[in-house]
């Protein structure tokens, strides 16, 4: 039976990890996501499900613990906030190269550098365009509610194992810190070692005589082999782009102006839609749920249907807006609006930007 609770986004993420049957969480505290490890330590899942919760000596150690556990076929996750996520990028690149599943969450704060502890969405480029080195992608899920902070843990693990790929839950200080009603999914039991051996023929679970050695690595000094490996990765990203796009359209049916937004900005833009409609402006919201894969096809398709302009709303100096421009291929006006550096825009500011930059511009 599911359970209704009032929780912070960070707490919902942590509770969902336990319920999703995670084998381990390795982390290191940082505002505004410290409630994740605090919640796990208080709940002591190690006493109930056997899930390991460990505060590593650094973010770099935590991501490499994730790498190791993922190699053994374990359901494993970490989380941090922007500066800590930067530290984890080397590990993410290695995990991508080695084709291992893992889940991690970034509760974004303002940057660059140590920046501020207030909410931001300025890690979009890092999340969707690499972050670490090499030709790789990861699936990026952008929750816009506490409910989705919980649900995307389950979905994220499923996708991670389906494609053997890192999945990132890209949240921010608003979604992490706010409390909302959350309907928690029923707990899923952790896999036994025998089940892992049976299900994951790639995992390093101990070599039996007569079986092939399984090697987990991102290294191959033969460039031709490495090119083949890269082609395989690219084929996987193509399949993900075709099959895993997720978005939500709000009041778009008769809309002439579209806000494009994700996460907390989508919530703020949704209010701006209401304010716009009250003034007789036909606005709608294209809420991105997956940032990679980006819903380019749908966005382009909408272009010809009476849309007079798109306003990309994000708490950054303009990152996601580049993907919106690429998607619509110049067939419609695209502008950007966003406060940044830890300042959250208001619904009134968003509407004003629409009126000035798109309608009046």
């Amino acid at each position: 039976m599911s359970e209704l609770k009032l929780m912070k986004g960070n707490e919902a993420l942590a509770e969902a990890a336990i319920r999703a049957g995670a084998d381990a969480y390795f982390g290191y505290p940082i505002t505004p996501q410290s409630e994740v490890i605090e919640y796990l330590m208080a709940e002591k899942p190690f006493d109930r499900t056997g899930m390991v919760v460990l505060q590593a000596e650094s973010e770099i150690a935590a991501i490499n613990m994730v790498y190791g556990a993922a190699g053994a076929g374990k359901k494993v996750m970490t989380s941090s906030s922007s500066p800590g996520i930067s530290l984890k990028q080397e590990g993410i690149s290695y995990i991508s190269g080695a084709e291992l599943p893992c889940l991690y969450a970034n509760v974004v704060r303002g940057g660059p550098g140590l920046g501020t502890i207030q909410p931001s969405q300025a890690d979009y480029f890092q999340s969707t365009k690499g972050g670490g080195h090499g030709d790789y992608h990861q699936i990026v899920l952008a929750p816009a509610s506490v409910q989705e902070m919980a649900d995307f843990v389950k979905d994220g693990f499923d996708l991670a194992f389906k494609y053997r790929i890192p999945v990132l839950i890209l949240s921010d200080g608003v979604i992490g810190q706010m409390m909302e009603k959350v309907d928690l999914f029923d707990p899923i039991p952790r896999l036994t070692n025998d089940e892992i051996i049976e299900r994951y023929p790639w995992a390093t679970t101990g070599k039996k005589s007569g079986t092939e050695r399984r090697i987990i690595t991102s290294l191959d000094l033969d460039s031709h082999k490495m090119e083949k490996h890269n082609q395989k990765l690219q084929a996987k990203y193509k399949e993900i782009t075709e099959k895993e796009v997720r978005y939500e359209l709000i009041d778009c049916d008769d809309a002439e102006y579209i806000f494009v937004a994700y996460g907390s900005s989508a919530r703020i833009a949704q209010k701006a839609v209401k304010l716009a409609r009250a003034k007789g402006i036909k606005a709608g919201l294209f809420r991105l749920i997956t940032l990679f894969p980006f819903p380019s096809v749908k966005m382009f398709e909408m272009c010809g249907k009476g849309i007079k302009g798109f306003l990309a709303v994000e708490m950054s100096a303009g990152q996601m807006v580049e993907d919106v421009r690429l998607a619509v291929k110049g067939c419609s006006k695209v502008e950007h609006f966003g406060r940044f550096g830890g300042v959250v825009h208001t619904p009134e500011e968003v509407l004003e930007a629409l009126e000035q930059k798109i309608i009046g511009g």
Partner: protein, 184 residues
Amino acid sequence: MTEELIIAGFGGQGVLSMGKILAYSGIMQDQEVSWMPSYGPEMRGGTANVTVIVSDERISSPILTIFDSAIILNQQSMDKFESGVRPGGILLYDPNGITRHPERKDINIYQIEGARLAAEMGNTKIFNMVVLGAYLKIKPVVKMENVIRGLKKSLPERYHKLIPLNEDAINMGLKNVIAVQELQ
């Protein structure tokens, strides 16, 4: 029905927990709720505020600049949030420590002497429940039985013996709210 409320005061006054109890009460009557605190460095010993939304519909922005109601518990918050009350909206404040009283003519203004009443009841910690009672008298967004259920959900079990005291405090607030300015 949608109620967009800001509760603002000093850290330690129970601002965040008052909001949490209200949010839980909303859940108890099947409504959508959001609770968005300020979590910046100002929380450490300075002002604390929380935006609470209770609605029959899916909630859009959890962050607002215009509010249906404001509960204001110190001067800094009065300076910051008086202008954010929607025309025709509600401002409820505790005059304790207020040096500049609200000046708006286009909103409904109420007072609750929460600090004094809580002290008279012998427990300053129930200050926030006195204020909550006053607010619910003006704007009964949640039913009293659901507030009690909300209290049970948000308080750890070991504090459940304090629920009758909290209920008394809420009733004290209900009875003692003063209308300073009511629009027609």
